[in-house]
Structures are given as C-alpha cells and as structure tokens.
C-alpha cells in the first residue's frame, strides 16, 4: 500500500512541467509588418525574467501573445503546458485567471474605490461574497494600501495606483505575473517599491516576466535578461543560479527526480 502511494507521488511530482512559458519560432505581423520574428524562448516556473529592448522591439507584443490578447501568426506558444493555439475563446478567461497582468497605465476603474477595483477581480472568478472583503483587505495590506481602500484611484499617487494594480493582479494568486513597463509612469522611488513587490511575489513562487527599459533597475536586480530588438530576441540571457532555488518546494523536488 505504501509503495503505491509513493509511486503515485513520484509520478505526480516528476510530471509537473518545469517550463511555465515556452515560445517556439513565434512570428506576429501587424498589417503585414512583423512585430515579432521567429521568437523562441522559455521561462521556468518560479523564474524572474526581464524583457528589455528599445521601443518597438516587440516587448508588449510578446506579453500580449503570452496573455492570449493576440494570436501569433506562426509558431507555438505553450503556457503552463497548454498550447494557446488549441485553446478556444471560451477557455481563454480561465487561462488568464492564472496570469496576473500589470499595465503601464494601471488600468484601474476611476469611479470605483480601491477596494472595489480589487473586488472586481475576485468577483469575475466567482469568489463567494463572504470572502471578498477579507481577501481584498489581505492583498491591499501586502501592498501597504489597506488604509486607502475607500479612496478612488484619482486620489492616489502614481506609485500607489500601480501598487493597487499589482494587488489586483495578485489577488487571485496567479502562477504567472506579467508586467508591461510597470514603472514607466513612476518616479524612481515608486518604481523601486513596485520592483521590490515583484521580488517578494517571486520569492513566494510566482513566475514574473517584466517588460521594461529601466536599465538601472534591471542591472540592480541581477535576474535573467532577455534582450529584444526589432522583433527578434538578440540575447536569451543567463538563467540566474538562484532561479531554481527560489522555486516552490514541490517543483524543486520534481526537478531533482527528473
């Protein structure tokens, strides 16, 4: 009996995919103009990766494809073991529930309070009413904004608004966090705050992929850097030695058994 349980456990652990995001020769055109050309890359579970490059390099397009906001014209994209080409439109919302997205312009609803903005993210996934207040409060505490939960976003600073956006992205505990120029509109200090939030989130096992051209922060953080230029990946970057060490225990066990 014990032997069977052990065998099951080993199978389930060893079959956990280590790769969270994988792109294979992905090309995307906008009105005939290529925005991405034959991009191949992979991001492991629990990794923290920066995507950098000048404007028009294809960073945003890359994130949109991962998030299924756009469809690639060529190539394959596999997220959490699911091929996005095979997903029908009704399955996309369920994939997105596992991917938090942080936008440069925050995308908060200005007429709703901070709490309501967070609550909306909980409601769309069907969180029971009774849990919404507690979970929204917890996540706002994580970004140190619990005291401002009754204010509307226009009454907050840019940095605070971005922290609300991060809280909203995290409230459903996604496995992946994507951020597109999250500090683009922030002063350096607020930018630092947001990046340390990302670091904390990553420490707890969430895979983080940040598109930015904030070189200073990227260098300071010492994580893998994927460099893009004119729609191509010019440097895939070195996986940080700490990446595996930061993974959750279960994944780490699985990694050893493979």
């Amino acid at each position: 009996m014990n032997l069977v349980i052990h065998w099951d456990l080993e199978i389930s652990v060893s079959s956990l995919p280590l790769t969270m995001i994988q792109l294979h020769r992905v090309t995307k055109y906008y009105e005939g103009v290529p925005a991405l050309r034959e991009v191949s890359l992979s991001v492991d579970k629990g990794e923290f990766v920066f995507v950098t490059g000048p404007s028009g390099a294809g960073k945003t397009t890359l994130l949109k494809l991962i998030f299924c906001a756009e469809q690639a014209d060529e190539g394959q994209i596999i997220i959490q073991g699911m091929n996005t080409f095979r997903l029908d439109s009704s399955s996309i919302p369920y994939l997105r529930r596992n991917i938090g997205f942080v936008f440069q312009d925050y995308k908060l609803l200005p007429h709703k309070t901070v709490f309501e903005n967070i609550a909306l993210a909980l409601k769309v996934v069907g969180t029971p009413h009774g849990d919404i207040e507690r979970r929204a409060y917890q996540v706002l505490k994580k970004v140190s904004l619990e005291a401002k939960r009754h204010l509307t976003p226009p009454k907050l600073s840019g940095g605070e608004q971005q922290r609300v956006a991060v809280a909203r992205a995290l409230v459903n505990e996604p496995q992946v966090l994507l951020a597109d120029e999250p500090t683009g509109n922030l002063d350096p200090q607020s930018g630092q705050d947001v990046f340390s939030l990302f670091k904390d989130i990553n420490m707890k096992g969430t895979t983080v992929l940040v598109a930015t051209h904030d070189w200073e922060t990227v260098r300071k953080m010492q994580r893998r850097i994927i460099t893009m230029e004119r729609g191509r990946v010019t440097d895939i970057g070195q996986r940080a030695a700490s990446a595996t060490a930061l993974q959750p225990d279960a994944v780490r066990t699985g990694a050893k058994s493979v």
């Binding site: 906001a69 009704s90 995308k107 609803l109 909306l120 409601k123 069907g126």
Partner: protein, 293 residues
Amino acid sequence: MKGYGLFYFTAEAFRGLRANSLVNLLAVGTISMAMVIVGFFLLAFFNLQTSVNALGDRLEMSVYLKDGLTERDRDFILTRIKAEPGVKQATHLPKAGALELFRKELKGQESLIDGLGENPLPDSFEVTIHREYADRISDLSEKFSGYHGVEEVSYGRQGADAIAGLLKMITYGGSALAVLIGVSVVFIISNSVRLALYSRGQEIELMQWIGATKGFILGPFLVEGMLLAMIGAALAVGVLAALYYVLPPEVALFLSRPNGLDFLPPAVVAYMIAGGGLLGLTGGLISASRFLE
C-alpha cells in the same frame, strides 16, 4: 460562476439603468408607445372574439315570412317549425310588434322610423333551439328557408361569421403590425444596450483582461435589455388601463368600460410583458454578441 447568478446580474442591470437614465427613459417611452399600439389591437381582437363567441352561442333564429300570407298559412308554418326536433320554442312576431321592438332599440332616434312611412319589417317567427341541437342550427335554418311562405332565415352565427371576417382582418393586420413593432423594440433595445456597453467599455475590457467569462460580462446587459422592454410593456398596459378605466368614453374612443368592452385578460397582460422581455433579451443579445467580437 458560483454566487453570481441572476441576482448579481439584476443588481448590476439596475445600476446600469440608473447610470444611463436619460437614454433608458427615452427607450422605455418609445417602447411603451409602440406596445400601446399592440395592446390596442389585442383589446380589439379579444373583444371581437368575445362577440363572435357570444353570437355563435346564441340559440335563436328569426324566420321572416313573405308578405300577404293568410293566418292559416302562418299557422301551418309554425306547426311545421314546432314539429322539428330541436326546436324549443317558436313565437309569432307580427310586423307591428317588430317595428315596436326596433323603435325601442333606436331609443332617442325614433324619428328615423317615422321617416320610413309604411312599416317595412316583415312578419316573423322567433325560434329558440335546444342547446343540444346548437350544431344543427345551420341545417335547421336551411330547412326552414325551404318552407313555402318563408322569405329568409337569420341566426346569430351569421352575424358571428360577419364579425369573424373582421376579426380575421384584425388578426392579420395586427400580427403584421406586431411583428413590425417587435422588430422595432429589438432595434431600440439593441441600441440602448449598445450605448450602455460603450459607456462601460473600459470596465468590460478590464474584465476580459482579468479573466471574466463572456457570460459574466454580458449577463447584466442582457438583463438590462430585458428589464427595459418589460418596463416599456408594463407602462403600455398602464396607459391602456388608464384609457379603459379612467378616461370618459368620448376621449377613450371605443376603448372604455362604459362601452361594454372587456379589458385584456390577465394572462394576455402577462404574455405582453413577458413577450417584451423576450424582445429585450433578443435586442441585448444582438448588441452584446457583436460588442465582444
């Protein structure tokens, strides 16, 4: 979608209705006016149908006699009529009596008869048929028409047939109009819902980004469309009821209680409102499905 079913959609729909109150007020007003026309036709239809049924159910017939018959001839005809199975009662209504009856029916306008000069009404027998023979009434009429000395036989169902012709016209005309109005209601609702969708475009886009299903996003808008049309239909019923119960007959044309008409049966009122809801749902679906494409 646990915990976010119809109750959530309805609460959100009311929020949406309040947010675009002016647009929605206009939509409801237009819909209710259109539905008043439908209700007007329904009222006419149901009242005519009642008349047709009532006339059809009448178990009486008038056997008109030719002029110049002797009393013996008349008695002979009467005996034959009475001998016919199914005849319950047959009474003689002489020319003078018929004129007197007519005069009573024309109460207030008797001068019309005075202008006629000689009494133009014929002698007749008023025949009542047993209820069990109701379906043989046309056979009996045909039989009596064949009797020597009988000019013509008329019975309620003939009047019923005439009204049934009118009813048919109203049914066809009303149905065509109802379809037209139905399409208009769908169009009005789809426009109102489209406006609501555009006014909350930012919120909808965000909901898509954070993993909301189509049903969760569109549910409140569909309920909003349904509510708009149902409120419009209920208002239309209110307007018709006001015409029927409150206004004097001269103002309400023939749509009034003092004229002896019935109001729409409760089931028809319920169908009108439910039908409005269905049209609203269709209008909402058209806009909503296009919007997310």
